[in-house]
């Protein structure tokens, strides 16, 4: 495996699934050679604070501070602030723990002083001792907006958390993506990495916002031979979250193949789970290499195994 150690790996990331992948990846390659480019379409302004759920999930996981029961938020968390907000009748459905609030307070203060989200993210990651380079997809605001079949427009967290994604969706768009620029080094990292991984995150609401930013999909196309996507759909649904259902609602098949179809123009290798091996032929017909392995990352060791398997086959 030593030949993998210093390979430079870029990972396009949503939240929980990507965090699990990274947790394994840093056991296989030098964390300092890993760059995570993270979705910020889920970001929100609430209580006056700038909240970046996916960035925080990635950093907290890499810092071994993630709440293991939820996959988001910090361990050893307190809820005094939220209890007060609830007492006042304020917005308490987006659960912000007391420790977690410290991150949002710091980020918001620094943004108000003119720092970029990239700079602040770097500061936060550094203070946690995270060696992976964590970069938001853009320093400009891009907001994922879903339209329900009833025509209502919802901010992503309204849909995802407040309504527990229990409402049928007719459309998804990424407000601001037309003018947003990739954060500094996003394009150069993609163009110069040995391998670009697309994490098994939700293709429609975690990876698509990243792809919507000017120049990112073009850069991936140039590197498609070295771009590996891991299917977030296993046996027709996501392990967590509404990806399968969303695919159906937006006119796709809920299958690994459908995800491969979405990614086919900028991906060289598509990784599916053993249970979906029957889909390999269709994926190959899309012009992609199909890799079959165990993709369920139940712990850090299995996540590392997945990364080792995937990277070895491509790099060797």
């Amino acid at each position: 495996m030593t030949e993998l150690t210093n390979k430079r790996i870029v990972v396009l990331c949503g939240g929980v699934g990507a965090a699990k992948l990274l947790r394994g990846l840093i056991k296989v390659v030098d964390p300092k050679s890993v760059t995570a480019i993270v979705n910020t379409g889920d970001d929100l302004s609430m209580h006056g604070l700038h909240i970046s759920p996916d960035l925080d999930t990635i950093i907290y996981t890499l810092a071994n501070e993630i709440n293991p029961d939820t996959g988001w938020g910090l361990k050893d968390e307190g809820w005094k602030a939220m209890d007060m907000v609830a007492k006042y009748g304020g917005i308490d459905w987006f659960r912000l723990g007391d420790r977690d609030l410290g991150t949002h307070l710091f980020r918001t203060q620094k943004l108000s002083e003119g720092s970029t989200l990239s700079e602040i993210t770097h500061e936060i990651a550094t203070k946690w001792g995270v060696a992976v380079r964590v970069i938001p997809m853009s320093d400009d605001p891009v907001r994922t907006i879903v339209t329900t079949v009833g025509g209502e427009e919802l901010n992503f967290q309204d849909y995802f958390v407040r309504l527990s994604h229990d409402v049928e969706i007719a459309n998804i768009r990424f407000e601001g993506h037309e003018t947003a620029q990739p954060a500094s080094d996003v394009i150069s990292e993609i163009l110069t990495a040995d391998i670009v991984l697309i994490a098994p995150s939700n293709p429609l609401v975690s990876i698509a916002p990243i792809l919507s930013i000017s120049g990112i999909e073009d850069a991936l196309r140039k590197r498609s031979e070295n771009v590996i996507a891991i299917s977030g759909i296993i046996n027709g649904k996501a392990l967590k979250g509404p990806a399968g259902r969303l695919l159906n609602e937006l006119g796709y098949e809920a299958s690994a193949t459908a995800v491969a179809e979405i990614y086919k123009n900028f991906v060289g290798t598509f990784v599916i789970d053993d249970v979906d091996r029957s889909e390999c032929k269709r994926i190959q017909e899309l012009g992609l290499r199909c890799m079959i392995t165990d993709t369920v990352m139940t712990d850090g060791a299995k996540s590392a195994d997945l990364c080792r398997t995937v990277l070895s086959e491509i790099i060797n």
Copy 2:
């Protein structure tokens, strides 16, 4: 004392000293007949949050939730958020406890939705079961700015908390006061109250911002026979805070008489502590009634005694 019970009392308030006065006052008169008009010149924006220290000190005190050790903030407080901010190297000199943060989150969210500070203050007070009507001096931003002898301009909390008011001041101004309007009912409350009390708060940085708002001093002048000010200066200095020193730095004598001089045009009765009885003659020469009593509010009972003494003498 029954004749006092239903008298309508308006109190002009800063933070800690005013809160102590109110805590006694509501033992002497019906809390529902008391209106607190509170300084917001100390308000600040920090971490993206709108913080109103004097409003919170008043409400927390009346709710019996104030931290008894500090006189500000909440009891049973946690510091997880601040510990995180400190970890990140953020601004941690203005101590915001986890419970207290809930108040700022709620306030900031409601402001962003278009509620006025008055409306939000009423909601917060109501949720705490506070029967006193608590009104900010203005819904418009007014910010107390101090200029040091070195010419540096500082926001009030920078001066007061960050620098522990340990720097010589050349000037104080209230940014925004020229265009700020009194909050709804501030003027009518003053004009129709049986008694207007000026709490023993800092005359230069707690009461002066209130007086700087258009129409408030005029309203007080019309009621001056029924306006009673309690000196915040005892034996040449404040019991707490830099009032004595500030008076000196800005060219006043550090004495109860100097405060009476500042207030003389809109106050009928000036209350001084027993230890300052020698100043009564000078205060009378300013055209004010001088009342001498024990003004040190070491507990709620002594605060109630002070209120009973002052109100009885004027009302009877």
